[in-house]
Symmetry: C2
Amino acid sequence: MNMLDTTHGIAINGQRLWQSLMDLAKIGATPKGGNARLALTALDGQGRDLVVGWMKDAGLDIRVDQVGNIFGRRAGRNNALPPVMTGSHIDTQPTGGKFDGCYGVMAGLEVMRTLNERGVQTEAPLELIIWTNEEGSRFLPVMMGSGVFTGRFTLDTALDARDSEGKSVRDELKAIGYAGTEPVGGPVGAYFEAHIEQGPVLEAEHKTIGAVTGSLGVRWYDVTVTGMEMHAGPTPMSVRKDALVAACELVQVVIRIANDNLPHGRGTVGVLNVHPSSRNVVPGRVDFTVDLRHIDAETLDAMDQRLRESFAAIAQRHRVGLDLRLAQYNKPTPFAPELVDMVRQSAVRRGLPAMDIVTGAGHDAVHMAMVHPTAMIFVPCKDGVSHNEIEDAQPEHLEAGCNVLLDAMLTRAGTAR
Amino acid sequence: MNMLDTTHGIAINGQRLWQSLMDLAKIGATPKGGNARLALTALDGQGRDLVVGWMKDAGLDIRVDQVGNIFGRRAGRNNALPPVMTGSHIDTQPTGGKFDGCYGVMAGLEVMRTLNERGVQTEAPLELIIWTNEEGSRFLPVMMGSGVFTGRFTLDTALDARDSEGKSVRDELKAIGYAGTEPVGGPVGAYFEAHIEQGPVLEAEHKTIGAVTGSLGVRWYDVTVTGMEMHAGPTPMSVRKDALVAACELVQVVIRIANDNLPHGRGTVGVLNVHPSSRNVVPGRVDFTVDLRHIDAETLDAMDQRLRESFAAIAQRHRVGLDLRLAQYNKPTPFAPELVDMVRQSAVRRGLPAMDIVTGAGHDAVHMAMVHPTAMIFVPCKDGVSHNEIEDAQPEHLEAGCNVLLDAMLTRAGTAR
C-alpha cells in the first residue's frame, strides 16, 4: 500500500506546487530571499495576473468581487450546492516571505490541477479564493477582503481606506484592473485554508500537520502604575513607592495566569516604559501593555477577572496607583469540529505526524469561521519565523499539507468518480 | 533654664539667618519661588559679592583660591592651629531652590555673626568657605572646588572645563572677578557642613537634626538580558524566552538585596527599556540599570557578590543571556566619629529630636571627608524635595541646625572667654 495514495486514491504533485510558489515569488523578490508585494500595488497586480492565468489554465471560472477578491470556480455535479472553498492571500508584508498566504493559494491551485489530471468530479462545486489585502501593511483594516465578505465591516469602509500617500483602495483596485463588479459575499459550503504555522510548535513537536481547532481570543489592556518619583540615594527603601517594583510583580501575574491555563493560555507584556527613566531616580510611573489569550471564551473571562483582582491587590500592597484599561477584545473563534476532524483523519490515513493546534495570529479563515464552517491546516515553518524575508518551509511539509487539503475538500464536497 | 542657651551659653539669631537666606534668594529668583544662579554666571558673581560683603562686615579675612573657592577667616587665640571650617555652596541647579547649599553658607555666616556679638574668641581659628560649582549643572566635574581642594582631580581639569557654549571655568572665573591667586588646599582642623536633608527621613521620623555618619557607597551597573523575540499569539508559554519576565525577577533581587541590608542598604532600577517594544511581541531584549548603595564598604562588596550570583542563577533558569557591567563605583565615605558625636551631643543638650542618618546625595563634605575630619548636620526639607523650585524648609529647623553647627564648631575649636 502506498501511504501517499490511500485517500481518494490520489496525491498532489509536490514538485509542481513548489515550482509555482517559486515562480510567484519572483514578483517583488527582495535581496534577502523574501517578497515585497504590498496589497494593490503594481506588483500585487502582476502577482494576481500570474495566478489568475494559472487558474484559467486550470479551467477555473473567474469572478472578481467589488473589493477585489478573486474566485476561481470548478463546477461540481450538483452546482446548486454551496461551494467548498479554499484560498488565502498573495499580498505580503514590506519585508515578507515567500510562503505566508501564497502557500494557501498555491495549495488550492495544486488541488484543482490534480483533480483535473485525475479527472475527478466533485458533488459540490469547488472554489479557490485570493483575498484582498490580508496583511494590512498598506491599508487598514487588515484581512480586508474576508472582512467585507463576512460582514465584519462595510464595503465602503474598505474602498475608502487610504494608504500613507492618500491613495484609496477604490482607486488602486481600478489601477491594477481588479475593481470587480460581483457583489461581495455569497453561500459557503465550507472554507479550508492551508498556511504555514508562523509559530514554533509543529517544528518543536516534530509534527508535519497541525489541525487548527480555532483562533485564540485576545484581550489587550493598557496599564499605568503610579508611584512616587524620589532620589535613589537619600530615600530609604521603606518610604519608597517604586512604580517599577510594583509593575514587575504585575508582569509576573500575567505570566502566572497564562501558565495556569495551559496549553492554550498566553500572557505577554510586550511594552513597558519607565518614567522619568533616570539611573538614580526611583521610578514614579510605569506604563505597560498586557496581552491575554485563550481559545475558550469563558476561560478568557476568568483570566480577565483574576487579572483585575490580582492587580488591585498588588497595587494596594505596594501603595501605588493603578489604572487598568481594556484596549481591545476579540472573542475566541472555534473552527467547525467536523471539518477539523476531516483534517485530522486525512493526516492519520496518510501516516503524517499531526497534532491539534490553535492559531494565535489572525487569518482570513478567522473571519470566515465567524459565519461559515471553517478549518485550517498548518505546516511547520523554519524556527517559527514569519513576516520576515528569511521565512522558510520544507517542500515535503508543503506537499503533505496540500494532500491533506485535497483530502478534506474531497471529503466535504463528495466525490463521484 | 533656657533650652536654647545651654551650650557655650549662646544661641544664634534665627530671624537674621532666615533674612539672609531670603536676601540671597532675590538674586536669580525664579517665578515659582526658586533660584537659578548657575556656577560662575553673572548672577553667581552677584551672589558671591553679596555674601563676601556680609563676610567682610562680620570681620572675616577674605581669601580666594585659584579655583574660585572663597575663604573667610576669623582668627583664633592660637593661629598656628589648623582652622575649624564650615561652609557649602551658593551656586544652584537651573531650577533650584533657596536652601540647597545656601543654608550651609548662611549658617556658617550666622555662627560668625553670633560669636562677634557675644565676643567669643576661639582657640583655633574658624573659616567659612564658599565652594565653587558644587552642582555641576554648567561645568563638570561636580563638586569642583572641593574636588581640587582635596586632590580628587587637578586644578587644570577644573579650569579647563567648558560649558555647553564653550566657555571655560578659567575665563568665567575672571569674568566675575573670582580668579583668585591663593594655592588650592591647606590645613584643615575639621570641616562641618549644615545642609537640608534632600530626602524624606527626618520629616517622616519627626526629627529636627540628622547627625550624618557618612556617605553611602554606590555601585552602578548596566545590565542586558537577551531572550528571543517571538509573536505573542502563536508562541506557547513553554517555548518562550521572555527577556522581560527574567528582568522582572532581577529587579526584585535588587530590591531584596537592599532590604536585607537595612537601614542603609539601597537598591534601585531607574531605567528599564524593552525591545522591540510591541504589544504583541514577546520581548527579545531588556536593558536596565542597577544602583546599589550602602554605608559599609564590605557590606556593599557582599551585596555586589550576591547580585552577581543571583543574576546568573536567574538568567540560567529563564534560559536568557545576561550581560552585567559595572558602570561606576564610589566607595562609602565615613565621617569622623568624634565630630559626628559633637553633633549628636549638641542636639541632646539643646533638647532637639535627632537621629543618625547617612547621605545618599553628594556634597562637598564627602570630598572633604576623604582627607580631613568631617561631619554634616542635616535638617528636614518639605516632602524631601530638593533640586526643585518648590524646595522648602522651616525657619525653626534651620535655626536649630545652625545652633548645632555653632556648638560643634566651638567644641572643636575650643573656647576661651
